[in-house]
C-alpha cells in the first residue's frame, strides 16, 4: 500500500447564517493515496465541492474551517499563511473546475494563461516555457497546439476548453489535481475521452486525482478509492470495487439505484 499523499482529518466547515453557525461539512476524514484516483461522490448539496475547496482554502467568503487538519507533505495546509499557501495552490495541488468558460479569463489567450502558471511556479525560461506549452497541449490531445495557444477561451469548444484547463492544471507538475465535476457539462463521448485522459496523465505524470462527481458509473470505471458524502458527512468509503459490490449504507444503494435506472 502506498503512503497517503494527502490526509484530511476531522475537518469541519460552517457558514454564518442569521447569526448562527450552520455546519456544511462535519468532521470529514479521508486519505488520498499517492498515484491513485480517489472519488468523492454525492448528490448536489452534499458538501463534496466544499470539501474539495477547503483543501486549497478556496472557500467562498462567509465559509470558515472551524477545526481539523489537512496534511500534505508534512504540513498542515489549514494553518499555513497565505504566502506559504501560494506555491502549493496551482503548483503542488491544482484544480480543474466544472465550467471551463468561467475558469478562464476571457481577455487573455489560452497560451498566456497556461504560461502564467509556469511563470509563477517554475524556473523555466521563456523559450523553455513556450516549448512546454506546446508539449502540454499535445499531451492533453489538443490538435494544432500553436493555433490553440493563440486562441481566446470563447473560440474553443467545451471539450477543447476542458482539455486546455487540464493542460493549465498540470503545467507546474503538481502532485495532486482536484477535479470538480470535470465532465458534467460535456456530452458522453467527450466525457469518455476526458476520463481516459485523466487515467493516462495519472500514469505518465505520477500524480493523484481527487475526482468530485455524482456520476457513479464513471467512478466505477476510473477510481481506485471512493468516499460517499451525504449532508456534509462521509458515510462510506473504501476501495471502489468493495464499496460498489458491497454497499453498506442505504444512501449508497440509493445512489447506485438512481444510476442504473435513469
Amino acid at each position: 500500500m502506498n503512503s497517503p499523499l494527502l490526509i484530511v482529518r476531522d475537518t469541519t466547515v460552517s457558514v454564518s447564517e442569521a447569526g448562527k453557525r450552520k455546519t456544511l461539512i462535519d468532521k470529514v476524514s479521508f486519505q488520498i493515496p499517492a498515484l491513485s484516483i480517489m472519488a468523492l461522490v454525492g448528490e448536489s448539496g452534499s458538501g463534496k465541492t466544499t470539501t474539495g475547496f477547503s483543501i486549497l482554502r478556496l472557500l467562498a467568503t462567509g465559509l470558515e474551517v472551524d477545526s481539523g487538519t489537512v496534511i500534505f507533505e508534512g504540513k498542515n495546509l489549514l494553518s499555513l499563511s497565505e504566502d506559504q499557501m501560494r506555491p502549493i495552490r496551482g503548483g503542488k495541488i491544482s484544480m480543474v473546475f466544472q465550467e471551463p468558460l468561467n475558469a478562464f479569463n476571457p481577455v487573455f489567450t489560452i497560451g498566456y494563461q497556461v504560461d502564467e502558471v509556469m511563470r509563477f511556479h517554475t524556473k523555466l525560461s521563456r523559450p523553455q516555457r513556450q516549448e512546454r506549452i506546446l508539449e502540454l497541449f499535445n499531451l492533453v490531445g489538443l490538435s494544432d497546439p500553436r493555433r490553440m495557444a493563440g486562441s481566446y477561451p470563447h473560440q474553443l469548444s467545451g471539450g477543447m476548453r476542458q482539455r486546455a484547463m487540464i493542460a493549465q492544471a498540470i503545467a507546474a507538475n503538481p502532485k495532486l489535481i482536484i477535479a470538480d465535476e470535470p465532465t458534467s457539462n460535456l456530452d458522453v463521448t467527450l466525457q469518455a475521452r476526458i476520463i481516459e485522459l485523466f487515467q493516462k496523465l495519472k500514469d505518465e505524470l505520477s500524480l493523484s486525482i481527487l475526482l468530485i462527481t455524482h456520476d457513479l458509473g464513471m467512478v466505477g470505471h476510473v477510481a481506485d478509492e471512493m468516499a460517499v458524502m451525504s449532508r456534509g458527512k462521509i458515510i462510506e468509503c473504501g476501495p471502489t470495487k468493495e464499496v460498489l459490490n458491497n454497499p453498506r449504507e442505504e444512501y449508497t444503494k440509493q445512489l447506485m439505484n438512481a444510476f442504473e435506472v435513469s
Binding site: 457513479l216 458509473g217 435506472v261 435513469s262
Partner: protein, 291 residues
C-alpha cells in the same frame, strides 16, 4: 396512428469562414426522415453539434426547413401560418434543458402554467376551469398546490423541471419534445424526473421525442432510438435492439461512452456519403449504408 412524419427534412446554415469573405454551408440536419406514431417515445441521441436540437427546432416550427416536408396528423405542416400555425404549436410542446432560463422569473408558477391556456382560449374558458386544470397538473407532477403562488427562483432544479413539464402538458399536446430535459440535474433527481415521465406517459398516453446525448438516460423510457450523427440519422431501431445489437460504429462509440466510459475501439470520424440511405435490416432496425 401517425402523429408526425418527416420526409427528407434538411436545414442548412451559412457560417462565416475564418479569415475569408466566403461563407461555408453547414447542413445541420441532412435528409432526415422519421415517423412518430401515437404513443411512441423516441429517443434522439447524438453528440453535441450533431443537429439534434436543430431538428427539434424545425419540428417546433421555430426554424423553417430548407428542404423536405413535414406532416402532422396526415396534413402538410411544412408551410403553415396564422391560425393553423398557432394550432400546431398548441399541439407540439417543449421542455427545455435549462430549467433556470426557461421559466420567466417575474411570473408566479400559476401564471407560468396558465399562460398557454389564456392564449389558446379554446378549452379552459372560465377562471374556475383554468384553476382546476392547474391543480390537476400540479398533482400530476407531484408538486403541492401551495407552491403555485411562488416564483421560479424559490425552487430547486428538479422542481423547476416538474413545473416546465406541467406547463408543457397544460393544453394536452399531441407531441411533447424534451430537449436534454435531465442533463443539468444530478443522478438522483434525473431518476426522479425520468420516473415521473414514464408515469405521465402511461397515464396521459403521451407521444414524446426525447433528445439526449446519453443513451443510458433513455434506456428505460424510449421504445425506439434514433442515433444522429453529422445531421443524419445513422441508425434507428427499437431500444433493446440498439443496446443488444448496435450496427453502426458510431452507435457503438456512443454506447461505449455512456455505459463503460470508454472510447470505442474505432473512435473518431465516420464518413457518410451524401447518397447514403437507411437500409432495413429487419425487426424495425434501420442502419445507414456504407457507400
Amino acid at each position: 396512428m401517425m402523429i408526425l412524419e418527416l420526409k427528407n427534412v434538411s436545414k442548412k446554415f451559412w457560417t462565416p469562414k475564418r479569415g475569408s469573405q466566403n461563407k461555408s454551408v453547414v447542413w445541420a440536419v441532412n435528409d432526415v426522415s422519421l415517423v412518430i406514431e401515437k404513443g411512441d417515445s423516441i429517443g434522439l441521441v447524438g453528440e453535441s453539434g450533431c443537429g439534434k436540437t436543430t431538428l427539434a427546432r424545425v419540428i417546433l416550427k421555430l426554424l423553417n426547413p430548407t428542404a423536405g416536408k413535414m406532416f402532422f396528423n396526415g396534413e402538410d405542416a411544412t408551410k403553415i401560418s396564422g391560425e393553423r400555425l398557432r394550432n400546431y404549436r398548441r399541439n407540439v410542446q417543449m421542455v427545455f434543458q435549462d430549467p433556470y432560463s426557461s421559466l420567466d422569473p417575474r411570473y408566479t408558477i400559476r401564471s407560468i402554467i396558465k399562460e398557454g391556456m389564456v392564449l389558446a382560449q379554446n378549452k379552459y374558458k372560465t377562471p374556475q376551469d383554468k384553476e382546476l386544470r392547474i391543480q390537476e397538473l400540479m398533482q400530476a407532477v407531484h408538486l403541492k398546490s401551495e407552491m403555485l403562488n411562488r416564483y421560479p427562483h424559490e425552487f430547486s432544479g428538479g422542481e423547476r423541471q416538474r413545473i416546465a413539464i406541467a406547463r408543457a402538458l397544460a393544453l394536452h399536446p399531441r407531441l411533447l419534445i424534451l430537449d436534454e430535459a435531465v442533463s443539468s440535474l444530478d443522478v438522483i433527481i434525473q431518476k426522479q424526473i425520468m420516473d415521473l415521465l414514464v408515469e405521465l406517459q402511461r397515464r396521459f398516453e403521451l407521444t414524446c421525442l426525447f433528445i439526449t446525448h446519453n443513451l443510458r438516460v433513455v434506456r428505460k423510457f424510449s421504445n425506439k432510438i434514433a442515433v444522429m450523427y453529422k445531421g443524419r440519422i445513422v441508425e434507428l431501431a427499437p431500444t433493446q435492439e440498439i443496446f443488444n445489437n448496435p450496427l453502426h460504429p458510431y452507435t457503438r462509440e456512443l454506447l461505449a461512452a455512456a455505459i463503460e466510459y470508454k472510447t470505442a475501439k474505432t473512435p473518431g470520424e465516420f464518413e457518410i456519403a451524401n447518397s447514403a440511405q437507411l437500409i432495413d435490416r429487419g425487426e424495425g432496425h434501420y442502419v445507414i449504408d456504407k457507400s
